[in-house]
Structures are given as structure tokens and as C-alpha cells.
């Protein structure tokens, strides 16, 4: 994408997001008036119109979930334009959903980066995660702050909990790290924390650091909701790994579920329950439209009634399974059926599981969540390296090939970087494989944090990585990778009290210097540059020289 288009799109999106809260507030007002019976036909018309506008605009600005939810509400509001006004309970439920629309949109706007709109190559793509660090030891606090910042976290240091409580009035971090050994006014930090209402109300992810490693202290931490407990002296890469895991969970897109049930009320109930659990759920009204609906909504799970009047669940499952790309889509039946034979027959025709009606809301949510979670894990396993979460060898080679071809097509350079950890073997030999794995996953985290979302990163071999940087020239790549090299060299790992660090050698090859090279040939050039870096003394970034022209 031309950079000016990207920048303008980003600006338009920002404008839209600025106006959105006002639009949602207006919708909420109308819905509240609807709930108390204070909305005439013209008012319902306006409500319908605003929902329609929202449905049509949200997705264009990257808020597809908002569009989908507004669409579902719009369809219901439209029915009321001609029909007698709905009863009080229906109106109240509708108003509650409009309210939820606003809440969901707020989160979506804050959390969803739009992948296609990449910024300039020098800046990492995502908003840096906000971290609050509560640490009374200034030396430790500043040291940790600096190390976390090199992983692209934005860190705010508080010397005591009372200060954080003050700021919690109008700010909220993504993560809070608390030194529980700090002592304020004669009370331990964990005791104090339990008494600070605003900090508790933030419900942000919490990590504890401590010198105390006893069972009671850990139980206390768990009771306060701590997601991690780290002992001093701190193993920073391990801490960052945990922070990264938490961030990935926070960033995960809502699970999408398609509900197919001829009982409209029940289907609507399921939808609301799943919506309430933070998922995106839609009800399929016309079974005939199932293929189009799945193409558009791309559900991660289909929840289907076994018995429906026109078409049975297994019939529809059969239609879904006729499409190659959906052979793995989980299909779960809702059934009052305890007839084993029918269930076996359904399983044979593409069902994955059964949920027996009646089932509680909590059962529904946990069953759906677990199955979608597992489907996502499987998908990751197929293409991702298990230790680093980066692409595997074959997938990164494919990406290099595809991006090189694309670069030629659009006339923009792509740069391939090959990275290798210096003297890595000695880490495994001296400190064991667990320490080696930590070094590798730390580099993976660093790469993910410092590169853009549009960059493709893979683990090429044991301690060798490849980064594919589209629309990035050699000079930019050199600066970017050199920054990563320095940050990696500054990391301190510790193993049984012994501290160590490692350095990085990097080779680059830019398509601008090798206009006719394929992805595989560029990789070879990057590999040669990497070996030049190794021969030149390691801990450095080398670019492949442009091939010299042969004079006749």
C-alpha cells in the first residue's frame, strides 16, 4: 500500500474513532427511551437508521465486530417500524444490547490494530503496552524499567502503592507489576493492595515480584489475582515471556460463533449469553443462506440444533463439509437427544460434539470457549514453531518468496534478514537446554516487539531466525536490526545465580540490490552476509553487497 494511503486511512480511522463515542451515546439515549416506552414511531425510525449507519461504517474502519452486532440489532429494529410496539421485556433486552454495543466498541477501538494499515518501517506497529511498576527500591525499579522498555513496554514507575492508587483515578495500565516485599506504613504491599479500591477496580493483569518463596505468600498472591510470581534476583527474560503471554491473551480476537436453531427465542438467548461472555455470535435465520453466512461471518464454531423442521442439523453439516476450507470447522450439536444411535449417525456426518439440552449458560460458554480455544491451538501448531510462536522453516520460506514477488510487482523493496545467536551452543552446554530455550524465546519476543505487524518472522533453524521486511529498504533495515542487535546484547540471563548474555549476528539482503533474485536467492545472499558478519567478529549487522556488474 502506498504510504500516503496508509497514513490517510489511519487518520480517517482515528477521526471515526473520535466521533464514535458520541454516536454510540446518541444510540444509547434512544435505546434507553425505547426501554421506558418513551419512543414514538419516528424515534424508532431514527434508532433504526443510526444502527444501519453503524452497521455500514464500522467494518470499513476496522471494527467488523461492531458492524455485525449493529446489523443484528438493525434487523430487529426494522421489524418494529411496521409492527405494533414490542413488549417491555423485549424493549429492555434490546436497550441492554445497544448499551453492550458501546462497551464492546470501546474495547475494540483500543485493542484492534488494523493489520493492513502499516505505518513507516521505523516504528513498531502496535501501541506499546502500558505497564505500571510499583517498586520502592529505586535502583531495582529504574533497572527493570529500562529493561522492559527495551522490549517496547511503556513503563511508569511508582515508589509506592498510594501513588498508583492516585493515578488509577483516570488511567489504567495493561499490566501491573508489584513488588510485594515493599512496606508502606507498616503494612505489606499485598495487604495494602487489598485495601485500595481504585487499584482493585482496574482489574488489570497483575504480576508479583518478591523475595519470599513460601507457599502462603504464593496462595495470597493467587487470591489477589496475580498471574505470575517472580523471585528476586529477577530473571527479566522469563518475566517478559510471561508478560508477552498475557498480552497475547488480551489481544486475542473475540471468538466467533454461528448459531443455527429454529427456535428463535432460544437462539437469541444463546446469542446474548455468548455476547455477554465477550464473544461474537450471530443467529442464522435462513438455513439456505448458511454458505454465504459462513463466508462472510467466518465463524470459528457452529452451534447447531439437531432437529429442525426444514433441514436437519446433519444435512446442514453435510453442506458445510462439502467445502474444503471448512472441513475443520468445529460443528457442535445442541440436542435434547439422548438417543445414542442418532448421535452416532450425526457424528458420522461431520459433527464434532454434542451438548445436551437443557444446558446452563455457564456450561454453554465454557463448552464453546474450550472448543474454539482448542481449534485455535491446533491451527497454531500446524504453522507455528512451538517454542517461539514464530513461523516454521517452510512457512517463512514461502513468505520470503511471496513478499519478494510482491515487491517486484509493486516496485517497492523488500529486505530479508537472517539472524543467528552468537556462540549459542555454549549456552546449552554450560547452562542446560532450558536456559537455551529461554534465550531463543527472548529473541523471538524482542523481534515481535520491535518489528511491524506486517513483517513476517520465522525460526529458520535451531538458533537461526529470518525476518521478511516488506516495503523496507536496506538502510532502514540496517538501522532496525542494529537496534535489535544492541537490545539483545544488553539482555542479562541468569541461571542458578550465574549471569550471562549473548550477542547477535545479522545478514541482510535487499531486493533493490538484487532486482532479479527470487526469494530463495535473496535468502542465500542474506545467509552469505550473515557469514560475513560472523567472520568479521560477530555482534554486527552486514548487508549483502550489490552484485558487481561484469564488464565485457
Amino acid at each position: 500500500m502506498p504510504p500516503d494511503v496508509a497514513a490517510q486511512l489511519a487518520r480517517l480511522r482515528a477521526d471515526y474513532l473520535t466521533r464514535l463515542p458520541g454516536e454510540l451515546a446518541a444510540l444509547r439515549d434512544l435505546a434507553d427511551r425505547l426501554a421506558v416506552g418513551d419512543l414514538d414511531r419516528a424515534g424508532i425510525g431514527e434508532l433504526h437508521h443510526r444502527l444501519h449507519k453503524l452497521a455500514g461504517s464500522g467494518g470499513t474502519f476496522g471494527l467488523a465486530g461492531l458492524s455485525a452486532r449493529a446489523r443484528a440489532l438493525e434487523v430487529r429494529a426494522k421489524d418494529w417500524l411496521q409492527a405494533p410496539a414490542p413488549d417491555a421485556a423485549t424493549r429492555a433486552a434490546f436497550a441492554a444490547e445497544v448499551g453492550a454495543l458501546a462497551a464492546g466498541a470501546g474495547e475494540a477501538a483500543a485493542a484492534s490494530p488494523v493489520p493492513a494499515w502499516s505505518p513507516s518501517p521505523t516504528r513498531p506497529h502496535e501501541r506499546a503496552a502500558q505497564v505500571w511498576l510499583v517498586e520502592d527500591d529505586p535502583l531495582l525499579g529504574r533497572g527493570l524499567k529500562r529493561q522492559l522498555e527495551s522490549f517496547n513496554y511503556q513503563v511508569r514507575l511508582f515508589p509506592c502503592l498510594a501513588d498508583a492508587e492516585q493515578v488509577a483515578r483516570d488511567a489504567c495500565p495493561d499490566l501491573m507489576i508489584l513488588d510485594v516485599t515493599l512496606n508502606e506504613e507498616g503494612e505489606d504491599a499485598d495487604t495494602r493492595l487489598a485495601l485500595l479500591p481504585r487499584l482493585r477496580a482496574l482489574h488489570c493483569s497483575l504480576l508479583f515480584i518478591s523475595t519470599v518463596n513460601d507457599f502462603h505468600a504464593r496462595v495470597r498472591a493467587a487470591q489477589l489475582g496475580a498471574l505470575g510470581y517472580f523471585l528476586k534476583p529477577l530473571d527479566v527474560p522469563r518475566l517478559v515471556n510471561r508478560m508477552e503471554q498475557i498480552r497475547n491473551q488480551q489481544r486475542a480476537a473475540p471468538q466467533r460463533v454461528l448459531i443455527v436453531d429454529d427456535d428463535r427465542d432460544l437462539a437469541e438467548h444463546y446469542r446474548l449469553v455468548l455476547l455477554g461472555a465477550g464473544m461474537e455470535a450471530e443467529v442464522l435465520d435462513q438455513p439456505e443462506a448458511i454458505v454465504e453466512r459462513i463466508s462472510v461471518f467466518r465463524p470459528e464454531l457452529v452451534l447447531m440444533d439437531l432437529h429442525m423442521p426444514a433441514f436437519s442439523g446433519p444435512d446442514l453439516a453435510g453442506v458445510i463439509r462439502q467445502h474444503d476450507k471448512w472441513t475443520g470447522l468445529p460443528i457442535v450439536y445442541l440436542s435434547a437427544e439422548t438417543d445414542l444411535e442418532l448421535q452416532v449417525a450425526a457424528l458420522n456426518r461431520g459433527a464434532d460434539d454434542f451438548l445436551i439440552k437443557p444446558l446452563s449458560d455457564a456450561q454453554l460458554v465454557s463448552a464453546v470457549r474450550a472448543r474454539v480455544g482448542r481449534a485455535r491451538q491446533l491451527d497454531e501448531l500446524v504453522s507455528k514453531d512451538s517454542l517461539t510462536g514464530l513461523l516454521k522453516h517452510a512457512s517463512i520460506k514461502e513468505a520470503a518468496e511471496a513478499e519478494t514477488a510482491r515487491a517486484r510487482r509493486i516496485g517497492k523493496p523488500v529486505t530479508l534478514a537472517m539472524l543467528d545467536i552468537d556462540h549459542f551452543k555454549t549456552v546449552n552446554d554450560s547452562y542446560g537446554h532450558a536456559a537455551g530455550d529461554l534465550v531463543i524465546s527472548s529473541l523471538a519476543v524482542l523481534l515481535r516487539q520491535r518489528l511491524r505487524k506486517s513483517d513476517v518472522i520465522g525460526r529458520y533453524g535451531g538458533e537461526e531466525f529470518v525476518a521478511v521486511l516488506p516495503e523496507c529498504d536496506a538502510a532502514h533495515a540496517q538501522a532496525l536490526l542494529d537496534d535489535i542487535r544492541q537490545r539483545f546484547a544488553a539482555l542479562r540471563f541468569s541461571h542458578e545465580g550465574r549471569e550471562f548474555g549473548r550477542t547477535l549476528s545479522v545478514g541482510l539482503a535487499c531486493s533493490a540490490h538484487h532486482p532479479d533474485a527470487t526469494g530463495a536467492e535473496l535468502l542465500i545472499a542474506a545467509d552469505e552476509a550473515l557469514y560475513a558478519a560472523k567472520r568479521g567478529g560477530r555482534d554486527q549487522v552486514r548487508a549483502a553487497p550489490a552484485p558487481t556488474l561484469l564488464t565485457p
Binding site: 500500500m1 502506498p2 500516503d4 494511503v5 490517510q8 486511512l9 480517517l12 477521526d15 471515526y16 466521533r19 437508521h49 444501519h52 449507519k53 452497521a55 455500514g56 461504517s57 464500522g58 467494518g59 470499513t60 474502519f61 467488523a64 458492524s67 446489523r71 438493525e74 434487523v75 493492513a116 443462506a289 454465504e292
Partner: protein, 125 residues
Amino acid sequence: MGTLQRILYVEDEPDIQAVARLALELVGGFTVKICSSGEEALREAAAFAPDLILLDVMMPGMDGPSTLKALRGQATLAEVPVAFMTAKVQPPEVAHYKALGARDVIAKPFDPMKLADQIRAIWNG
């Protein structure tokens, strides 16, 4: 049929106007005129001489279908291809809009990076 260059887009929402202008001018390379209502389109369309007209379906005042009908009444615009843009695209609705004389229907929300290609496909189809 000649090449597609001039597009008249009738849309009441400023947010969508801005992103569509970007999608059509910068990404698509078209010459674009935007009108904020059906009434405005009726006054301005003939002078702009569009190759193709995009109409939002739901607008305050004159909606998309009535704008289409009125535009067809102007001699120079009677044959200009029209596509509707709407947030509701069920197959029966598409059929309905086509029966009104629209060449095709583009679903909202649209992807700004793909809108120009969608329109070219309609033009060539």
C-alpha cells in the same frame, strides 16, 4: 464501453465519504465527485457527466432507489450504469435493486483497499 474514469458517489455520511474518496481517487485512480444527498446529485450529476454512479441506499430525504429513478429521468444520465451501496445485502434484496435498474450492489462495510477493484469488476461485468 469506454474506460471507467469518472465516478459520482452519493452518500450522506461524511466519514464514509472521506474514506470512499481515498479508496476511489488514491487507490483506484478515478476522478470522483461526491454529493451528500439525492437532491444534490440531481442538480450536479449531468454537469459532471459520470461514467458510473454509486448510490447509498438509505439516505435522509431522497433515498437511493428514488434518486436512481429521478436520475433516469434526465436524458444524459438515462444510460449511465448505477451501483447501490448498502449495509443489507440478502440475495432477495440484490434481486430487488437489480430490478430497479442497478447494475449491481456493493456491500457495506466495504474494504477501502478493495473498493476500486470491486467497482472495476462491476464495470467490466
